[in-house]
Symmetry: C4
Subunit: 316 residues, 4 copies
């Protein structure tokens, strides 16, 4: 099979740094991350707290902020107790909460720079600790502000890919087709797509190994992206699938690797989305259902409920 | 008509994901948004509060901030009252405003971290609420800072398009011409323009459907953009309008779709502007009035008052 | 002259939106702004306070902050006085400064959220004003933070251009040469240069008008930019200057318009620098003095003191 | 040697602004900075505090913040003492710390806007100083926030280069090979590499000088970068090394200059990495050990512990 494909002169073999291994799991997860395990790297080495705090959900992010606030206050409350609660002026014996909580809430008032002043530090040591805690507070809020803005300003192209990849009639031949749409209101322009495929192919020696091929597209880029885009790989002489039957296609355990790039209007930034389709995402012999309609008033409508809808073809 | 255009070998047909529908409303609004209704999507799904707060006016933005400040204080004032006003030390019975307003303003002093301290929290519960409110305050101001910077740093290319699209004499033929200028003081460089047209054309079967064509330009990009740029589509053999009369042009219900991209100097960012012209924006047989003059001292002047001015041509 | 140049088949005429005017002043100032006056635009329309505050000096920026702080405090001090100084608790008759300054400093303590608490608001009206002033304070500091970061993060490519443009011997012909170096420590990579010239040329009708030509370069881009780059326009058959004598060159009142673009390492951003050379910046028949030396320890040295140094050639 | 290389028609000579000097030290350090000394520039001229504070370690950054906090407080404490400690109300004679520390901690409480209020300013002069100090505080924290976000948002492509450069068998010839991998979890896409070499070559006059050549690569760019990328320069007719023996190679004191560019997913930004290999980084006749394996569960593994491992070839 490999030899047959390599003979085709318009088919371009690719290299992703894997060599021709016999890897069986998907290479690219549907969230765009690569399915590669790194051995021999300590998790701390590649850990970047900024990236983690950028990527996590808002709930977890605020959870981290709350946890940090509590821990820092606990730490400073301990320090004030060790230095002696008598160095906090205004601690009221009538308060039933006791010295620990007085120290804890004094710490919270210092860290957040509220500083009501009922309790205030006394003596050089405790004053120094309180002055340092106030600096920790303002610096921490600088960090939080930086993180919040980082989370805000990260452009996220929420492209939605069709669940299935269809093999459809196309001109006089057939083609592989999937479609994408923009889940966000923000406008994307100048989109371009690059599609490759990873195939498990038996070589002349009878061993199966993975090979990568680039797939030509009917249209590699679009200027405007107002509705949805059907990306079409014609199965013609330039395709590694040319002449393959459905069973040969499925036996080659194909994984389509997709990279879509574009410009996001709201962020004036370039965005990238990766996705992949596997053999069991593929429907052989089907057509996408139309999702663009003209409404009664003459304007265009995109029917998102039929985004994943397709119709099987009788004699595919 | 469609067949005639398709026969021209230099005319390039385009695809924007609409198919050949009979849509009658404009596709691209003059503010650059697309005129497409999405059915079957809940408004919440595509709602992005960050984008909304970035795009809204400064008045509405500060209105939202004020509303948020009032609501949060109302909420915490309620909490303090529920916990018992006696847990706020320093509440003065002599204050005629009463417990609710005492709690409300204590909340405001805590949220903004002013913390005058006349009133201060007492007891573990109320102290905890106040410490949490101070954290809400600093975190909220981090969010506001992030939003403010996001609003500031979003490059907005305020390109001004001429109100009309002119059909003018050009070399030995005619051309469609519009002009753009920069409304801002900031400099734009490396501008490039892409122009397409959507036409309602009758096919061989007598049915009218929309088709998209790309329009070639006399000049697709300019390095410097100090004054104004007249963008010219020559109606020659490569144009879908070649050989069309004015009435045929108007009957085809044309919409010119324009994308201009460039680099903004002040933001070191790429900017994009979209615009469209309709049939009724088109003046057949007219010339732009000159807007560049040399003043007495030898320097160049751009006469913005004549930016939209044109002169009709006798025998157009 | 114009006819002669237009006959050369490799010379490319350009258009900057000026038409062929008789403008006599320089088009591009050495700070990169264009020397074009806009008539008929109100200054407010193109005024962008964010851009102004980004572009101004740090001294003026902090001056604006100080002025704002003083004005806001003055305004709120007035409000507090109008509402009655008796609504500020803790105002001390013993303070010789008097009610105005007490109100003013209370305002400053509120705006900056210091809130010592010696003076504190009383009554619903004054409490509301104080709560609003605290919000004005934190929101203003959000604006200042946004501006400060905007100022920081704006990549400024401080390219230094040689003071003079030299006409030097080059291979078997001559060439126009200028050099640029990086004034900052940050690294620039992937620099590219585009050079055009504006010439006042007499046409067949004997009238002089301005025409723009693009100038070909010996090397249009460089990958690394560790030292200095001598940009060379060979005066060969593709040059509008081919065959011009020095006096013809000077009579054509040339202005070289230069755009250099590159990537700044510290900001991961693209930067652009514009510059122009006039006739009186041109030295006819001179060579740049060498500024790269190898020091005794074998490393390379860039001798910045000779950056503008050149040597005249005897028989130029 | 130089003449022989120049005769090869596919070899492209390059220019980095050095001319053909006899420089003996490396041009590009392994951290990506250039090894060029600038003479005649005052260090202040090219000093950019923002860039320094961006590039320094977090420890030093927080050290600078702490130092700034201490110095400012020292300065304002001095001012308060000069104005007379009696202008700070609430200074307690019972506090053993004495007037200096009372003034110092009052300053810290003002700068950080904690403002407990036990001590508060009195009189116009001291009130003005305190109001100004509070403004200094909030503005400084705006600067710190800006710096913190600048540090966060600077995309750092931590590409790891193999320690050695190998001369390996390649097809029917040999090739120079090094490999790179991504140390971070963030994804890089659309990587491209440009490789040049600086060689000390004897010209026809017997003098040795440095010349730069661009090296062609088997593959100049990759779309995905999930694992590692082996960058291969085939030593064929287009290579300046074609026909060189190992001793000739080493005698030419080669320095490979590498620029890798790509798009970072987490920051939506372009990143650049520079690196260089010297003669003594080169192993003649060796092959990279395989680092991609398929684990038992069928997924791919990148064995980072063997990233620098190679095997010498018997008869190289």
């Amino acid at each position: 099979m490999l030899e047959q494909i390599r003979k085709k002169k318009h088919v371009e073999e690719k290299e992703f740094g894997f060599g021709n291994t016999g890897q069986k799991k998907r290479l690219l997860n549907t969230d765009g991350t690569f399915n590669v395990v790194r051995k021999g790297v300590s998790p701390f080495e590649s850990f970047n707290p900024y990236n983690e705090l950028l990527a996590t959900s808002w709930n977890r992010f605020f959870g981290c902020v709350l946890l940090w606030y509590f821990s820092i206050n606990l730490f400073f409350a301990g320090l004030y107790l060790v230095c002696g609660i008598e160095n906090l002026r205004g601690v009221d014996p009538a308060e039933e909460s006791g010295p620990f909580w007085e120290a804890f809430f004094f710490s919270a008032q210092t860290l957040s720079t509220v500083g009501y002043g009922r309790v205030s530090p006394s003596g050089i040591l405790v004053n120094t600790i309180a002055a340092f805690e106030a600096l920790v507070g303002v610096t921490s809020f600088a960090l939080i502000t930086g993180l919040v803005f980082g989370r805000f300003s990260k452009p996220v192209a929420k492209l939605m890919f069709s669940e299935k990849l269809l093999q459809s009639p196309y001109k006089k031949e057939t083609a592989l087709m999937f479609r994408v749409t923009n889940r966000m209101k923000s406008q994307l322009v100048n989109l371009s797509a690059q599609v490759s495929v990873s195939l498990a192919l038996k070589g002349a020696d009878g061993h199966s190994s993975r090979h990568f091929f680039s797939l030509s597209l009917e249209r590699e880029s679009i200027v405007f992206f107002p509705t949805s885009w059907t990306i079409v790989h014609p199965i013609d002489e330039g395709s590694p699938f040319y002449g393959m039957s459905e069973s040969e296609f499925r036996a080659s355990d194909p994984e389509l690797l997709i990279l879509i790039q574009g410009s996001d209007d709201s962020f004036s930034a370039n965005v990238q989305v990766r996705y992949s389709y596997l053999e069991n995402d593929t429907i052989w012999g089907a057509k996408w259902r139309k999702i663009i309609h003209v409404s009664e008033d003459g304007s265009s409508q995109l029917d998102m409920q039929n985004f994943n809808a397709y119709d099987r073809i009788g004699n595919a």
